[in-house]
């Protein structure tokens, strides 16, 4: 296996980790105002992801950094080509990040409601946009002979990519709802369970069509992993209905792994195909760094990834308990004094 292939695989693994982990916290954020009937409810929801969302987001930063280091041409063409779409992602992630910290800082319903909606937007927008982005990456975009993107923002809004966006949004929402059945108690848990059935159906429909479309275009292994993803989504709905929340969550996580691998499998050996002329496509070989850089990066990854996985897993163990309305302390926000 060539080093470039190893790095393609590692970047696929990083995106998979990102989607599995941040997928559920995007889902929880998206459903904040649907499942949270009052402020205590909403605080329960936010606190299910409170200790972990930031660590989950780092998977994206490492995926981005690894792409820069291992495939600089991919990073350059992708990030400059998808400019305005990434601007939207950035705005969403910036707002979302401060929203979790700021929301409870002032004791005012208006303040908290504003940040609630910021969390909803900041979670739903990237959940949708990452699907749009990957739809475009897998299908290809117009690249010229220098591998420069020659389209516009609207080139990215094609039906296949938009379908990908709806698929990831529904998939992450489903994943989030199932996560909540695992992490909450009482009425919230019940509501999350009921909603998870509907979201499971939506994820199966949109995810299924998106994957079928992908498999028709790329064939081969994509059919197998797509079928696996579909089967896991159906299993997740059944487990959730049966109140086997752990199995349901493992199934949605497995489905996201299968979906991400379908996408990367379909992409390989390209990293950004050109729809203008396949000779202009960026591939694992023509976009890569030198073997020396890839070697160093491989050693660093081999040495440190297990450590990271170990302490992240430990965090989930520390915060394994379900969160109920009773575990939410009285609001700590400062009073807002009207002058």
């Amino acid at each position: 296996m060539a080093l470039t292939d190893i790095w393609f695989l590692l970047i696929a693994v990083l995106w998979t980790g990102y989607f599995v982990l941040e997928g559920f916290d995007f889902g929880v954020g998206t459903l904040l105002r649907v499942l949270g009937r009052d402020d205590t409810d909403r605080r329960v929801l936010i606190n299910t992801i409170g200790p972990v969302w930031d660590g989950n987001e780092v998977w994206l930063l490492v995926a981005g950094g690894a792409t820069f280091a291992a495939f600089p041409l991919w990073y350059s063409s992708l990030f400059s080509g998808f400019y305005l779409a990434l601007l939207l992602v950035l705005v969403a992630l910036i707002l979302r990040g401060v929203a979790f910290e700021f929301r409870g800082k002032l004791d005012s319903p208006r303040w908290r409601t504003t940040w609630d909606w910021v969390i909803v937007f900041g979670s739903a927008a990237p959940a949708l946009l990452w699907g749009v982005a990957f739809g475009n990456i897998v299908h290809g975009v117009p690249l010229d002979a220098q591998h420069h993107f020659t389209g516009t923002f609207f080139t990215l809004l094609n039906p296949y990519a938009l379908l990908g966006g709806v698929a990831t949004l529904s998939l992450f929402s489903f994943h989030g709802a199932v996560f909540l059945t695992l992490k909450t108690t009482g009425e919230i848990r019940g509501r999350a369970r009921i909603l998870s059935r509907a979201l499971g159906g939506t994820a199966i429909v949109f995810g299924g069509v998106f994957l079928a479309y992908t498999a028709v275009e790329h064939g081969g292994w994509a059919w197998l992993t797509s079928a696996l993803a579909a089967a896991l989504l159906v299993a997740a709905v059944l487990f959730a209905t049966d109140e086997r929340d752990g199995f349901a969550f493992a199934s949605t996580a497995g489905a996201i792994i299968a979906v991400t691998f379908t996408l990367f499998w379909s992409l390989y050996p390209n990293v950004l195909p050109s729809t203008t002329d396949s000779a202009f496509s960026l591939t694992t070989t023509n976009a890569s760094s030198t073997p020396y850089t890839l070697q160093i990066m491989t050693w660093v990854a081999v040495a440190f990834t297990p450590i990271v996985l170990a302490y992240q897993a430990w965090t989930y163990w520390v915060f394994r308990k379900r969160i109920s309305r009773g575990s939410i302390p009285a609001g700590g926000g400062l009073p807002v004094v009207r002058r």
Binding site: L61, V62, A70, S76, F102, G104, Y311, S327, P329
Partner: protein, 464 residues
């Protein structure tokens, strides 16, 4: 404005803004860790209240640093794609390693610290804030190694076949003398920043004679921090100035608006008139000091801008190799000036607070509170100097900024993102400012009451 100018403005605005929060995060994480250590070791409740109070301000600031940091990694590819293609083989690795080694550590262990007060044993909980602090320093090292390679590109060659820079010796990139100097200078400045932050807020509280049991020890700790860090900033700054003279002589000459090569060179404290080399109306100069800063001796020869411009033209072809002299001249001076003022405040403060005393005259408190702005200003102008002084290069002697910009991103897109970021950051600055001031004024939590024994499940010690 061209896409290039807009992209430069955007990089400047987003990076300076991000770096308002970063030094405070780094410095304050260690101070809070120290306070919590004092609590764990002594069991004295005042240290717990100190930890809680400064910890809350630390977290508000940390959230802003994290949120604005994501842009930093993305915008190389978005606005500077030719740069990214050219340097990716070298520059990408420290960024990726920063994420893997540092960001995971910071985010995961701060999550454990914030929510772990009643879920982890006391000492393990204390370890989480120390580990997160170490993460912030690791992060600083890798990003400064990346930046230092732009200032002084070592361990690499340009492959004429691909037209891209290639890594030859990663050890050389990590042990770059520029990186070591920049790291030492930046980290000492981080402690200076956190120290002045604690001095300023403690002064506000002490002036109103509130919570002296918390803010007196905070003040003492911070004054000592500023003193030690301030001396460190001077020593490391001196080291950096010498490296700069050797590696980027044009930057040193521009910092002084020194047009003609001289030996010995005097240091201009202040000047009135134009800085274009044609005339100098008025200037206060200290003889020999520039020679000392640049070379380590009071009569060393310092190259002038005109001479260096001719040399660089010979080496790199015709073109403009002079950075913006007024900007470099003033930012260099202001950085040093703001830094020395911090040191002065700490010396005065240590004298006034010596041996259990509390200043009777009230003038020190508002001065110290106003001084809170100084390190932030010094950090900002320091980086503006470092980056503007390297122009027209993005990688010194190798790649020009004009050749770094994304060739296919239209100016309208860059303008859109520039406006969006500026507005968003403006709004967040107001929100962050309001929260910081309110929480600083609110003071520490009351002394803890012993929890009543009961079988009822108790709410978590902390929740969002």
């Amino acid at each position: 404005m061209s896409a290039l100018d807009l992209a430069r403005w955007q990089f400047g605005i987003t990076t300076v803004y991000h770096f308002i929060f970063v030094p405070l995060t780094i410095g304050l994480s260690f101070l809070v860790a120290g306070m919590q250590t004092a609590w764990v070791r002594t069991g004295n409740g005042k240290y717990r209240r100190m930890t809680k109070f400064w910890g809350k301000l630390f977290l508000i600031n940390f959230a802003m640093g994290v949120a604005t940091g994501i842009v930093q990694e993305f915008q190389f590819g978005m606005n500077w794609s030719d740069y990214s293609t050219f340097v990716g083989d070298i520059f990408g690795a420290p960024l990726a390693i920063e994420g893997l080694l540092a960001f995971f550590l910071e985010s995961t262990f701060l999550g454990l610290w914030i929510f772990g007060w009643d879920k982890l044993p006391k000492k393990l909980h204390l370890a989480t804030i120390w580990i997160a602090s170490i993460g912030t320093v690791l992060s600083a090292y890798f990003i400064l190694a990346a930046n230092s390679w732009m200032q002084h590109p070592v361990g690499s060659i340009v492959n004429p076949a691909t037209g891209r820079a290639e890594l030859k010796d990663f050890g050389a990139v990590l042990t770059n003398s520029t990186a070591v100097g920049a790291f030492a200078h930046t980290i000492t400045a981080c402690f200076l920043t956190a120290g002045m932050f604690v001095v300023g807020i403690s002064a506000w509280q002490l002036r109103r004679q509130k919570n002296a049991d918390v803010f007196r020890p905070s003040m003492k700790l911070a004054l000592v921090t500023v003193l030690i860090a301030g001396l460190g900033v001077i020593v490391t700054g001196d080291l950096q100035a010498r490296l700069m003279t050797e590696q980027q002589p044009m930057k040193m000459a521009a910092a002084e608006a020194l047009y003609d090569t001289v030996a010995p060179a005097s240091f201009s404290l202040f000047t009135i008139g134009s800085l274009d080399g044609s005339q100098e109306k008025f200037s206060i100069r200290v003889p020999g000091v520039l020679s000392f800063m640049a070379t380590g001796t009071f009569d060393g020869r310092v190259e002038g801008i005109n001479n260096l411009q001719a040399q660089e033209q010979q080496a790199y072809g015709p073109g403009e190799y002079r950075p913006d002299v007024p900007v470099t001249y003033w930012t260099f001076r202001l950085m040093i000036g703001f830094g020395f003022l911090c040191l002065l405040i700490s010396l005065v403060g240590l004298w006034l607070f010596r041996r259990g005393r509390t200043p009777r005259g009230r003038w020190f408190f508002p001065v110290a509170t106003a001084g809170l702005a100084l390190p932030f200003l010094a950090n900002s102008v320091g980086w503006i100097f470092t980056e503007m002084g390297r122009q027209p290069w993005s990688v010194f002697g190798v790649l020009k900024t004009a050749d770094s910009v994304s060739p296919t991103v239209p100016a309208s897109s860059v303008l859109t993102s520039l406006i969006v970021f500026t507005l968003l950051y403006g709004v967040l600055a107001v929100v962050d400012g309001v929260l910081m001031v309110r929480y600083a004024k609110a003071g520490p939590p009351p002394p803890e009451e012993p929890a009543a024994e009961s079988d009822e499940p108790r709410p978590a010690a902390f929740a969002y």
